[in-house]
């Protein structure tokens, strides 16, 4: 399996990358970590005529706290965000999600932004972006455009990004409450394989132990990473006891419409979504309860 021939440019600036994309349009493809793109090129599912390498752009490698958000440059490698102190402290859900992303060797190359624009519906990083309601900044020759992660994903590998745009950064909202807990769980054939179904949740408890805020999403059971704000609305203001969590998990299974394939029937995916929703909500509550009231 060898990629079809292509021409290669290692760009020195984001502006140069955008100019090349404007010139070549759909014939050009950006390469960052390449952990999804290169296999697709090897299998010739992707045959770009031009490969524009953005790996060495320092302007896409920032990780910083800014205005209640963790701002992550698009080509920040997954292994970097795994160990970054600000990310570990302010975005623990991402840290928990990364334990399920590929393997050491792929996380050493794979990038946060690359996983998002690749848009595999079972991928962990896009799910975290949707559940936390992250904002994506897309850049083209005329300037930046912001789009909500929840409005970015349409179908497997189909997103709102235009051929002349480059994802520049992702802004993940940071929850400021004292007692925030989160959890990420998935079922796959082997650890590191694509999730059959994944689920993640983040909850904030208020001073009297009731749910101040909750967010939950399901991966692998819809054609896109599926944030379910309906569940957050159902839980907010209430005590998160086991009975309410079980009701929420049943509601999750009703809100999704999974397809069956070689690995799992639609019915089994719906079952997994319910079980995993229950598990991540219980684990997120336990995580939050363990934290001190300030």
């Amino acid at each position: 399996m060898k990629a079809a021939p292509f021409e290669y440019t290692r760009v020195a600036s984001l502006a140069e990358a955008c100019a090349l994309l404007a010139e070549h349009g759909g014939d050009a493809k950006l390469i960052a970590g390449g952990q999804s793109l290169v296999p697709m090129m090897a299998m010739r599912l992707a045959r770009p005529a031009w490969l524009v390498d953005i790996n060495r752009l320092d302007e896409l490698k920032h990780v910083e706290l800014r205005d209640d958000a963790l701002v992550v440059g698009a080509t920040v490698r997954q292994c970097v965000i795994e160990r970054n102190a600000d990310a570990v402290r302010s975005l623990p859900l991402m840290n928990k999600a990364l334990k399920w992303v590929g393997h050491v060797q792929t996380r050493n190359r794979g990038t946060v932004g690359g996983s998002i624009v690749h848009a595999d519906p079972s991928a962990e990083i896009p799910l975290v972006a949707c559940v936390l309601d992250a904002t994506l900044v897309l850049q083209d020759a005329s300037g930046p455009t912001e789009v909500a992660a929840r409005e970015f994903f349409f179908a497997p590998m189909v997103t709102a990004i235009a051929p002349e745009q480059c994802l520049a950064e992702i802004r993940f909202p940071v929850w400021k409450a004292a007692r925030v807990g989160c959890s990420f769980e998935e079922v796959s054939i082997r650890h590191g394989d694509f999730a059959i179904v994944s689920a993640c949740a983040q909850v904030a408890l208020d001073a009297d132990g009731k749910c101040g805020r909750a967010a939950l999403g399901i991966g692998g059971a819809s054609p896109f990473p599926h944030a379910l704000p309906e569940i957050g609305a159902m839980l907010e203001g209430r005590a998160l006891d086991d009975m309410l969590i079980e009701d929420a998990a049943v509601a999750v299974a009703d809100l999704i419409d999974p397809d069956g394939d070689l690995h799992a029937t639609a019915e089994y995916r719906r079952f997994l979504a319910r079980m995993l929703a229950m598990r991540v909500l219980k684990a997120a509550v336990a995580d939050a309860v363990g934290k001190e009231v300030q």
Binding site: M1, K2, R10, G34, Q35, P39, A42, V104, Q105, G192
Partner: protein
């Protein structure tokens, strides 16, 4: 076919190599076919099996998922670069022999590269940490038990002064 060639300068196992390569040449094909360093194995060619693992600027990566042209100015260490300076097997390589951590040997270079990177950053790993570190490497004959034992043995031997 007249494919455009791109200049490349890369340090492999401490030696600088200059070459001109087509853009689509993967790092593993560059190592094996251009530099004749055939210790790195090609398994699946799409990032699943881990047989082609090499160390790039200090971190283990899959060499089938990179194009050689991307490496201009980088430093790569392959299985050939992990021996003792005199070319004899390292403590880790010895441990794979002693603990029967290989049978057909196809996955072995990748396993040793992954384990070497683990022991560099974590000289006394737990069994779970070893399994996580080699989680991206497939073995189809020896099985993983003896490979895990080999890494544990290497960690002990290195702690006792073996190199």
């Amino acid at each position: 076919m007249n494919e455009k060639l791109y200049p490349l300068s890369v340090t492999v196992n401490g030696k600088v190599h200059m070459a001109e390569v087509p853009a689509r040449l993967t790092l593993v094909d560059f190592l094996r076919d251009t530099l004749r360093l055939t210790g790195t194995h090609v398994g699946c060619e799409h990032g699943i099996c881990g047989a082609c693992s090499v160390i790039l600027d200090g971190a283990p990566v899959r060499s089938c998922l990179m194009f050689a042209v991307q490496l201009d100015g980088c430093t790569v260490t392959t299985i050939e670069g992990l021996t003792r300076p005199d070319g004899t097997p390292s403590a880790l390589q010895d441990a794979f022999c002693e603990a029967h951590g290989l049978q057909c040997g196809y996955c072995t270079p990748g396993m040793i590269v992954a384990s070497h990177a683990l022991l560099e950053s974590n000289p006394a790993p737990t069994e779970a940490e070893i399994r996580d570190a080699i989680g991206g490497n497939l073995c189809r004959c020896t099985g993983y038990q003896q490979i895990v034992h080999a890494v544990q043995l290497a960690a002990e031997n290195i702690a006792n002064g073996a190199k």
